[in-house]
C-alpha cells in the first residue's frame, strides 16, 4: 500500500532481513559510502545533500546539507550526534528504522562524518530503546567487522567510531542542545542558541545533530544523485517521508510516502479509514506539538509548506487521527498532561504555565470549572507565548489554543455542566 514502487527508507519492507549486513550489501548497501570515499571530496557529499533539498526529519525541517556546511573546517574534533530520542507522542518511525534497516542509518552517519570531517559519532536513544539498541549494536559490530566503520574505512585514511548512548526518560532531550547536555552527563536542559551546536556542540566542539530518519535518506541520495531524489515530493519539500499514523484508523503504522501526498490518501488508503465508517473529527499532524487540524482538511497535501499554510506544522509527521466520538477537552488535557510531565523546569513560564493549564483541565474534567476557565486557559497561553526558553513550552500551547479555536463549544459545555464530572 504505497505510492512508491519500492521504499527508499523502509527498505526492510521490500527486502527481508536487510538488517543483516550481508543482505544489505547484496542490495547496494554501503555502495554510497564506497562511492563517496573513492570518488568524492567531502565537500561534494555536502553539496549533493544540499542539492537534494533534504530537510531535517526530526521536526524542524531545516535543510540538512546547509546544517552540515556550518561546521568549521579548522576546528577538531568534530562530532556527529544522532537524535534517536524519539519521544513525541505519536512518533515511532526512528525505532522502526533502527530495528528494520539499521545499516542504512549507519551508512548515513558515515557519509555525514566523511562530509564534515568527524571521527566519532554518538547515537542517542531514549532509555526505553534498550531492546532496539541491542540490535543496533549488533549492526555496528558487523559494520566494524566488514570494514565499514573503525580505522581506515575501505582502505582509505577515513576513520570513524560509532557509539550508542541511552537516555533515561526525558522528552526534552529530543531538543538538540538538551540532548548534548544529557550526553555530557549533565541535566538534560536546553542551552542558549547561539552558539549553535555547529560551533559549540558536544564537549564544546563543532557538532552535527541530525535525526535518524534524516541520515537514513543520505545513502540513496549519494548513491543515486540529487536529481533522482527530487523526483519524489514537491519543489520545496523533496523526497519521501515516513508518516506515523496512529489513533482511530483501521491500520495504524508507518507509511513512507512522497512529500505532498494528500492526507486523505494516508488515512483512507494506507490506514484503511476510520473504524466503523465514523467520520474524522480532528487530526494532529505532528504529535502533541502542532496545532490540531479539523477533520475537513483531508485534501491537504502533506508537505512542509501546505501544512503550515493550513495553520499547523508537518514536524515529525506523526498523524494522530481522532474520530467523531472523541471529547476534545479530554484529548487536549492528555497533551497538556504530557507537556507538564516533561517540562524540564529550567524556565518558569513553561514550568509554571503547564502546571496551571493542567490544573484548569482537572477542573474541567472533574466538573468544577469556573465560568471564565476557557478564557483563563487562553490567558495563560498568551503569557507563555514567546517567553519560554525552548520550544517545549511553546509547543504546549498548541493543543490548548487549537482545540479551543476549533471546538470551543465543547469547553463551554463543560463549564455549563458544572458539578457533572466524568
Amino acid at each position: 500500500m504505497s505510492l512508491l514502487q519500492e521504499h527508499v527508507l523502509l527498505r526492510h519492507r521490500d527486502i527481508p532481513n536487510i538488517r543483516d549486513i550481508h543482505v544489505y550489501t547484496a542490495h547496494g548497501g554501503y555502495d554510497a559510502l564506497r562511492k563517496a570515499l573513492n570518488e568524492m571530496q567531502p565537500g561534494e557529499v555536502t553539496d549533493v545533500v544540499k542539492a537534494s533539498g533534504l530537510r531535517g526529519r526530526g521536526g524542524a525541517g531545516f535543510p540538512a546539507g546547509v546544517k552540515w556546511s556550518f561546521i568549521p573546517k579548522d576546528v577538531k574534533p568534530v562530532y556527529i550526534v544522532v537524535n534517536a530520542d524519539e519521544s513525541e507522542p505519536g512518533t515511532f518511525k526512528d525505532r522502526e528504522l533502527i530495528e528494520g534497516n539499521p545499516h542504512q542509518v549507519l551508512e548515513g552517519i558515515a557519509l555525514c562524518a566523511y562530509a564534515v570531517g568527524a571521527e566519532a559519532a554518538y547515537i542517542y536513544g531514549r532509555g526505553e530503546f534498550r531492546g532496539p539498541f541491542r540490535g543496533l549494536q549488533q549492526a555496528i559490530d558487523q559494520a566494524y567487522e566488514q570494514g565499514f566503520l573503525g580505522e581506515n574505512i575501505l582502505g582509505t585514511d577515513f576513520s570513524l567510531d560509532v557509539y550508542t548512548h541511552l537516555g533515561a526518560g526525558a522528552y526534552i532531550c529530543g531538543e538538540e542542545t538538551a540532548l548534548l547536555s544529557s550526553l555530557e552527563g549533565k541535566l538534560g536542559q536546553p542551552r542558549n542558541r547561539p552558539p549553535f551546536p555547529a560551533q559549540v556542540g558536544l564537549y564544546g566542539k563543532p557538532t552535527v545533530v541530525n535525526n535518524v530518519e534524516t541520515l537514513t535518506n543520505v545513502p540513496p541520495i549519494v548513491r543515486h544523485g540529487a536529481e533522482w531524489y527530487r523526483q519524489f515530493g514537491t519543489e520545496k519539500s523533496t523526497g519521501t517521508k515516513i508518516f506515523c499514523l496512529s489513533g482511530h484508523v483501521v491500520r495504524p503504522g508507518n507509511y513512507e510516502l512522497p512529500l505532498g501526498t494528500p492526507l486523505r490518501y494516508l488515512i483512507e488508503e494506507c490506514g484503511g479509514g476510520v473504524p466503523g465508517g465514523r467520520k474524522v473529527k480532528a487530526i494532529l499532524p505532528a504529535g502533541a506539538s502542532a496545532p490540531i487540524l479539523p477533520g475537513d482538511k483531508l485534501d491537504l497535501p502533506l508537505d512542509y509548506e501546505s501544512v503550515q499554510a493550513a495553520g499547523s506544522m508537518l514536524g515529525s509527521a506523526s498523524f494522530i487521527v481522532m474520530d467523531e466520538t472523541v471529547d476534545m477537552v479530554w484529548a487536549a488535557s492528555k497533551m497538556v498532561h504530557f507537556f507538564k510531565h516533561e517540562s524540564c523546569g529550567k524556565c518558569s513560564p513553561c514550568r509554571e504555565g503547564t502546571y496551571w493549564m493542567e490544573d484548569v483541565y482537572h477542573r474541567l474534567r472533574d466538573g468544577h470549572a469556573r465560568p471564565d476557565d476557557v478564557d483563563l486557559l487562553l490567558s495563560i497561553a498568551d503569557q507563555m507565548d514567546g517567553n519560554c526558553f525552548c520550544l517545549l513550552g511553546e509547543f504546549s500551547l498548541s493543543p490548548v489554543r487549537s482545540s479551543i479555536r476549533h471546538f470551543r463549544e465543547e469547553y463551554e459545555m463543560r463549564v455549563k455542566r458544572m458539578g457533572i464530572g466524568d
Partner: protein
Amino acid sequence: MLSQADRRELDDILKKYPDKRSAVLSALYIAQREKNYLTDDDIRDVAQALDMTVTEVHAIVGFYTLLRKEPTGKYLIQVCTDLPCALRGADDFYRRLCRRQGLPPEGGTTEDGLFTVEEVVCVAACDKAPVAQINLEYHEHLTDEKIDAIIAELREKSTEGVTAG
C-alpha cells in the same frame, strides 16, 4: 552498590567518552537494574566512580523518569496511556489491569512486592497499542489475557527461584 563485575562493565563504557561523567546514566542504570531502584549507597558509588559529587548525581536521578529512588517491584510494568494509545483503549486497559492486580487506579506495587504497575507517557509504540514495557522490554498488541499470562509466568518464575534458592 556496584559489584566488581558492574565496575568492569562500567570501565568498558567509559572508553566511549572523553569525559567520565558522560557515563552517568549508564552507571545508574547498572546500579539500578537488579532491584529497579537506587539507594543512597548506589548513588554514592556512582558519584565516586565518575568523579562527580553526590549532589550532582542526586540531581540527575531526580531529573530522569527511568531512574527511581522509591522501592519498586521486581518487575516494573509501565503501561502507556498517552493520547495515541488512549484512543485505542489504553486507559481502560490500564485501569482493568490495576483492578485485577488489586491496585488503586493510580497503580502501585502488588502485596507480594513482585510487580509495580504505573502509567507512562508515549513510548514510541503507538501503532501497537495497548503497549507496556516490563523492565524496559516492549510488550505490544496487549489484551487482558496476554498481560495476565505474562504476569502469571513471571510470578511462577519468581516463586520457583525462591524455592530453589
